[in-house]
Amino acid sequence: MIRSITQQKPEAELDRLLEGLRRVFVIGCGTCTTLTQTGGAPEVAAMKERLSQEGKLITGDLVLAVACDNLTGETLAEYGDQMDQADVLLIMTCAFGVQNIALHSGKLVVPALDTLFIGKETALGEFNEVCTQCGDCILGETGGICPVTACHKGLVNGPCGGTNNGKCEIDPDKDCVWTLIYNRLRDLGRLDAMRKLQRPRNHQAVLNPGKIRISV
């Protein structure tokens, strides 16, 4: 399943964001940030403990089932009193959750996490970005492997000159995606696809910020 991948902000940044805000209500999420161990029940407990040690008063805490879901508004309503006592909601969800909670609560929010990318867990504890949602999909010509996402330069016409033993020049822990694409197309007998000159990409397939309306 596709997840929103996050990491905790540095403690110094968090301390700065919470400066002058003494009473804190902490919110985690039972979905993506639980998987990435950045905002599940154990991380919320640890955050409460750290903040308490720093002299903050914790007015309450909550781990939402799915922070970005519309039901979040109803759940938050049940914690109204505890949240009202707080100067700030410290949110340990991805940025979608932060925005949803801000909308439904009307309270001051501070994110405890940075949202990195939309990706999936490809091995235990390892997360990879799989789609940048560019709106101009070329997977049909690249053996189902996305160079727009997985090439550090987003090259769509083959690899740069920096491939080293099948690894990317800027991160030896990452496969060169064009080596993967080459191998896949070779196995499929479709190497011809690499000869095609891909036209300049449409970076505005949907005008940023994205918004579409379908007829229903």
Binding site: G154, N157, G158, G162, T163, L197, P200
Partner: protein, 309 residues
């Protein structure tokens, strides 16, 4: 390959003579003497001088301004342009800017990732890739059209080049990639620095098998080692670089004070051997911060004097 531009480099390549190019890296400051001094050292020994474009993603004086300094000295610059820092509007605008100063050569590159440089947190652009940059310049020159389709008044007249790395892997992709760059519009190629001559010659043979050497002018890239340490660094740290063990051993095998001369000797031997390699149409000498050695390399390789065109 009939002459299409006023480029001196093109005339020399078309004449059948071996071309010699070199490069100057602009300074990390605004002193024009840093460029003109380097150019003075090499100007009589090369046909054209590449100006690098914020190489290794370290911020420097811009390639276009440095090219203009060369042009004002009456020299022949090769504008290097990377797509890392410019979207398609800026790319086309800078091409027109170069054309307005009658810069007649351009090398189209992707550019090193900004991770390597002094602004690793900067946004990389890569709106176009190097193939699409080649197509863009050719379209602007040959059709007199912008990417958006509008007509250009006084279109650019540039000889269009690309880089090729015969050594990055997978090896079997490298000649097809050369073919793709030619299809995209490359008229000359400057290769990655060559130390593994067998592998380069194999790549050239595969290129010849497809007739590519008749469709593009291939300039073999060479860089003299200043020291055994540099050879080891290039072998181990520079991505896509192929420095065989025996070359490192040869550099390490001479006393430190003789290593620079050994590096020059290897470079001259490489050029001498590759002059015999069918399809090699010239040499691109990248003497990194060692421009003063270019005359010696050119002379000892039998490539001096340079043809007058």
């Amino acid at each position: 390959m009939s002459t299409k531009t006023p480029s001196k480099l093109e005339k020399i390549l078309d004449s059948g003579a071996l071309a010699v190019t070199s490069e100057c890296g602009p300074p990390r400051g605004s002193d024009p003497a840093a460029i003109t001094r380097k150019a003075e050292m090499i100007k009589d020994y090369v046909d054209a001088i590449n100006i690098t474009d914020n190489q290794t993603s370290v911020t420097r004086l811009c390639s276009l301004a440095a090219c203009i300094h060369l042009k004002q000295m009456g020299l022949e610059p090769v504008l290097q342009m990377v797509v890392r820092d410019r979207n398609r509007i800026a790319v086309q605008s800078d091409i027109l800017g170069a054309a307005s100063f009658d810069i007649y050569n351009m090398l189209c590159l992707s550019g090193d990732h900004q991770q390597f440089g002094d602004n690793p947190q900067g946004q990389n652009v890569f709106d176009l890739d190097s193939m699409q940059l080649l197509q863009t310049v050719r379209r602007m020159r040959d059709e007199g059209k912008f990417l958006g389709g509008d007509d250009i008044q006084r279109p650019p007249r540039m000889l269009v080049g690309a880089a090729a790395n015969p050594f990055a892997d997978p090896f079997e992709i490298r000649v097809p990639r050369l073919a793709k760059k030619i299809a995209a519009g490359a008229e000359f190629i400057q290769t990655q620095c060559i130390y593994n001559l067998e592998k380069f010659e194999e790549w050239m043979k595969l290129a010849r098998d497809r007739g590519l050497h008749e469709k593009v002018h291939i300039l073999a890239g060479v860089t003299p080692f200043k020291s055994a340490g540099m050879a080891k660094y290039m072998k181990n740290r520079v991505p896509g670089m192929d420095v065989p063990d025996d070359v490192v051993k040869r550099m390490s095998g001479v006393p430190k004070e003789n290593q620079p001369q050994e590096g020059i000797d290897i470079c001259v031997e490489t050029i001498t051997r590759l002059q015999e390699c069918e399809g090699v149409r010239g040499f691109h000498i990248m003497a990194i911060e060692w421009e003063e050695k270019v005359p010696e390399i050119v002379e000892r390789s039998g490539l001096y004097p340079r043809p007058q065109v």
